[in-house]
């Protein structure tokens, strides 16, 4: 494979990986606070719909982005409230969120299928785009991709260098110790749901505002579940999530390009590649690290003391 063929695959990998990347970082924040959220797929869908709807109604993709963040946050906060205050089983509540949100998004979104809304178009950065390899791959994308480059640093610094981040992690590692220090576990966890949910909503909106400018029922097509798997692959670290998301996006982009190049491999086998990769990644990272890095109180609801 020549460099000319490889560069478009890498650029497509970054683009296809970006929605998964946003969702994975959002899920990492929630899980680091102890909230396992299997509702990512549903929250992404609501984000995609809210973003599309707002952008169409107002003509501004930026307002659409804000609406998407709001919708994602609302969905994840609902899950957070149900888990922290009603002490619901986190796995069941998360699955219920995905079912609820999928139905709701399809119901509300049906009138908008086949319509077009303004969105984010590729905006190469002058100067940086001239850099060989990196220019076309990293700096000829749309503005949401550029934002996502800041995520690993922002999330890592936020989690390990700020008081809020350390407390958030305490809520996920040892709620008892956290409470003994006079902190509200519920409030910390809901804060993580808010921020994480916004990122998940933006990840969904990337599909309806940037990747295409269209809404369709089920536009996320399983990307939310891939994000849940990538959290484990990333050992709950935002930087590694970036690698995982791009790797995954790359496999998706690569299989279509193999077809376009006229290979004789049956397309059914090529279409399996991303999912084979998911299983391999889960198997390898579980075996290798025994869920290395998993927050100790992940999925556990502490009894309310008040």
């Amino acid at each position: 494979m020549t460099a000319e063929m490889l560069l478009p695959v890498l650029a497509a990998a970054v683009q296809a990986g970006t929605p998964i990347f946003y969702a994975t970082v959002g899920e990492i924040l929630m899980e680091r606070a102890g909230i396992l959220n299997l509702g990512v797929e549903g929250a992404m869908l609501l984000g995609a719909l809210a973003g599309f709807w707002m952008s169409m109604a107002t003509g501004s993709p930026w307002l659409g982005l804000a609406a998407a963040a709001g919708a994602g946050a609302a969905a994840c906060l609902l899950h957070g409230v149900v888990c922290t205050y009603a002490l619901a089983n986190q796995v069941v509540s998360g699955l219920a969120l995905t079912i609820l949100a999928t139905g709701l998004a399809n119901f509300l979104g049906t009138p908008y299928v086949g319509l077009a809304a303004p969105g984010f178009d590729p905006m190469p950065i002058p100067g940086l785009r001239e850099i060989p390899v990196l220019g076309p791959v990293l700096f000829s994308q749309d503005v949401l991709v550029y934002f996502s480059y800041a995520l690993p640093v922002a999330a890592t610094v936020g989690l390990s260098r700020t008081r809020w981040g350390l407390r958030l992690r305490a809520a996920g590692e040892s709620p008892t110790a956290c409470r003994a220090a006079g902190l509200s576990v519920a409030r910390l966890r809901l804060g993580a749901c808010l921020v994480g949910g916004m990122l998940i909503g933006v990840g969904g909106a990337y599909l309806s505002l940037a990747f295409t400018h269209l809404w369709t029922n089920g536009v996320t097509a399983g990307r939310g579940w891939i994000a849940v798997a990538l959290v484990i692959f990333a050992f709950w670290r935002p930087g590694r999530a970036m690698v995982g998301a791009y790797l995954f996006g790359g496999v998706m982009a690569f299989q279509l390009r193999l077809q376009a190049a006229g290979t004789a491999v049956p397309s059914s086998l090529l279409l399996m590649l991303p999912y084979v990769l998911t299983i391999v990644v889960l198997a390898v990272s579980s075996r290798w690290g025994r869920f290395f890095g998993a927050p100790a109180a992940l999925g556990i609801n502490p009894e309310p003391s008040e």
């Binding site: 497509a12 990747f211 982009a253 279509l256 049956p266």
Partner: protein, 350 residues
């Protein structure tokens, strides 16, 4: 979902109550109507029926194939509908089942192969329009590489790709068609990525057998050309859109209803083509030169008069083996079961 069924039921009750004496025609769609695409094209046909004297229509959209379809069709039949059009392949068995229970209702199923005494099937010779769009694409390409984003390797889609390739080769013997399968009818993200992969491989015209306009968007973003499908997609990519292979169900639907009202309707297999206007091409984009338009127009007239059956020999397959001898045309049965690519198509059939 439940709320939507309630709405549908309420709508059906309302229509039956309001115009109980009219001839009632129901339509079942697999996707939302929206403002482009497969179900939109059927709904344009429904509107022509609605405009007929003494006829009322209604439709149910986004009906999943299988059990749900059976429930929707049964409800329509029970509400006293006289004629029901079910417009997706997967409605075939549900329609047949309901047709047996309601022998007085006339059923028409689109794109399948089963019939009953009160159930016809119908489709359009879309390959004729595909051939014409292929001619435009073949004339406009500079790289001689045409990209085709395709849903599933079934005869309907394969026939369209082959007709497109034959049309392109009629204008440009060097034209090659690259195929990428998405294995979905409607997933804008995957359709667009598939289109981009074809653009990266050097294709400079993108055609599609998909229901979303996402491949058109991809072509416009790269500044190359595109060919739409189902309905005119020019508004999604005005700078790229050369033309589109479009459905025009109005003549067929109005004729079926007219025959039913006159008592002459028969449960037949209908496969209408360009001669009756069921398939057509969308208006040319401004970039298509006059000379190309004239040639396509001439071919369109020849097809309409039955002088050009499109699949007429000599036609060789991908490996160069002659499949259709010179002067012979493929029969309808051979067209309906087509499972091989013509020479000049690059892609697998799996």
């Amino acid at each position: 979902m439940r709320a939507r069924w309630m709405m549908v039921l309420a709508m059906l009750l309302w229509t039956t109550g309001a115009w109980a004496k009219d001839f009632q025609v129901g339509f079942v769609y697999v996707s939302p109507v929206g403002d482009a695409g497969y179900s939109y094209a059927h709904d344009q046909g429904r509107k022509a029926v609605e405009a007929m004297e003494g006829v009322t229509t209604s439709f149910v959209e986004s009906v999943p194939e299988g059990q749900d379809a059976e429930r929707v069709i049964t409800t329509m039949a029970r509400k006293g509908y006289d004629m029901i059009f079910s417009t997706s392949f997967g409605y075939m068995d549900p329609t047949l089942k309901v047709a047996k229970q309601f022998p007085d209702v006339k059923f028409l199923h689109c794109s399948g192969y089963k019939t009953a005494p009160n159930m016809a099937n119908y489709f359009g010779r879309m390959y004729q329009a595909r051939y014409l769009t292929g001619m435009v694409a073949g004339a406009m390409t500079k790289s001689n590489l045409l990209g085709y984003v395709a849903a599933f390797p079934i005869p309907e889609v394969i026939r369209g790709i082959n007709a497109f390739a034959l049309g392109a080769q009629a204008m440009n013997p060097k034209a090659e068609v690259r195929v990428v399968w998405t294995k979905t009818w409607y997933d804008p993200a995957r359709e667009k990525e598939a289109a981009k992969s074809l653009l990266d491989a050097g294709c400079d015209v993108i055609a599609q057998h998909q229901d979303s306009p996402a491949p058109q968007e991809a072509a416009q973003e790269r500044g190359v050309y595109s060919v739409g499908y189902n309905s005119d997609m020019a508004k999604f990519a005005p700078k790229a859109h050369l033309t589109a292979a479009v459905w025009n169900w109005a003549p067929f639907y109005t004729e079926m209803v007219r025959q039913a009202q006159a008592g002459t309707w028969k449960a037949d297999s209908y496969w209408w083509g360009m001669d009756k206007g069921v398939v057509d091409i969308a208006p040319f984009g401004p970039m298509v030169p006059e000379e190309v338009r004239a040639k396509v127009q001439a071919a369109k007239e020849a097809i309409g008069k039955g002088e050009n059956p499109v699949f007429v020999g000599p036609i060789a397959d991908q490996k160069g083996v002659e499949r259709v001898p010179a002067g012979k045309a493929l029969s309808d049965a051979e067209l309906l079961s087509m499972n091989w690519f013509v020479r000049g198509v690059v892609g697998t059939l799996e």
